[in-house]
Symmetry: C2
Subunit: 229 residues, 2 copies
């Protein structure tokens, strides 16, 4: 099994809590392994947990009756998820799926909420981070309206690259990702994404391999995107 404490310490959402609070929380944490593409939970289920990605990566997604899937986010190791932790009683709105083989650390929502009440210095950090997530989703929405397909796809790749090497120094970022999944994130088809990607690839801004995407120089990609519109 995994050691909960270091993971709790590194979770940004809990950064406002003192060490003693994390010690209280640690024994309640439950580690869970998932294989790639295994469902972690479905939308609508009545749970209220905070989950932390301890290893691997997790997709936030949902799908409609006709089998089309929407990938709303891909969360890297170290990030947290669990949309309803702060809204007790509400059913889950989105689903979560293992993107790679991964380990997830679950914290009961009730325990977290009562802990925050006893250590209120943890609240401002949480509010700040949830707010920032709200902006970034709104920014995506904004891009859908204001920018062309190429800029939108580029930005999404850039975002993934930045998130992926948040810990390491800024340099080339490489991660597992199929074109099908990019399409699911963009609300397009694999073929539609293909044409745009060929363009960006021809300029050396991204490189593709079987099931893998590499951004050699994130800064250069960013500069290019800004010229587009």
């Amino acid at each position: 099994m995994i050691e909960p404490l270091p993971i709790l310490r590194s979770c940004p959402l809990l950064a406002g809590l003192p060490e003693e609070a994390l010690h209280e929380l640690a024994p309640l944490a439950r580690g869970q392994h998932y294989k790639g593409d295994e469902v972690i939970y479905l939308p609508g289920s009545m749970q209220s947990q905070l989950s932390i990605v301890a290893e691997g990566r997790v997709r936030i997604c949902s799908s409609n009756a006709r089998g089309r899937e929407a990938t709303l986010a891909i969360l890297d190791t170290g990030t947290w998820f669990g949309d309803t932790v702060f809204s007790p009683g509400a059913p889950r709105v989105f689903g979560a799926t293992a993107h790679d083989d991964c380990t997830v650390l679950d914290l009961p929502g009730t325990a977290l909420r009562s802990l925050l009440q006893r250590y209120p210095q943890g609240y401002p950090v949480a509010l700040d981070l949830v707010s920032r997530r709200l902006w970034s989703v709104m920014s995506i929405l904004q891009d859908d309206v204001l920018r062309g397909t190429e800029a939108r796809i580029g930005r999404r790749l850039l975002y993934l690259a930045q998130m992926h090497n948040a810990s390491e120094d800024k340099g080339a970022a490489s991660f597992r990702l199929t074109r099908e999944l990019i399409a699911n994130m963009m609300g397009m088809t694999r073929q539609g994404v293909h044409r745009v990607l060929k363009n960006i690839e021809a300029q050396g801004l991204v490189e593709f391999a079987y099931g893998r995407v590499t951004v050699p120089d994130p800064a250069r990609l960013q500069a290019y995107i800004e010229t587009l519109d």
Copy 2:
């Protein structure tokens, strides 16, 4: 001028604060009037305030260099906005514009944050509400991927109708809104929206007049949207 206290009392974001806290806050509130389509603030400006719509309605929006505008939300009387209140130091991400003639009540961010520290019982409500905004924006993103144009436009109108008569009983909802603005919200053109709207209108689910939209029976519109997939 307007009386701040009743407005603070009715603001859901402040619902967790005791009466005495609101009394502390009231003298710091500053009311401000805006004419229709007047800019309240632009993205990038360095302010940190919580704003409450005391009268009229406010658009959250931004626009690109070529003059295209994206309307991200239309906020009704009673709702709050100010994306960076909980992230001190961050510049505003989106702009705000008066939708009708309106009155906005501004609360300094520093004052609000220090007040919450002294009355931490206010935090859970704030976290809950910001979380819920996050879901609803993510739901829009999801719809863009999973559902067709007609379902998306219908849902947006329904959402506006529900928000508009949140206080009154559920019945017909009527509000000022041009087709151009609907298009700006959907990331489409006026003409593109027109065709879809003709369809929905023919079934009596919505009615249009010059600069005005009416949803006679929100429940029926909702039922229709769900048949679309």
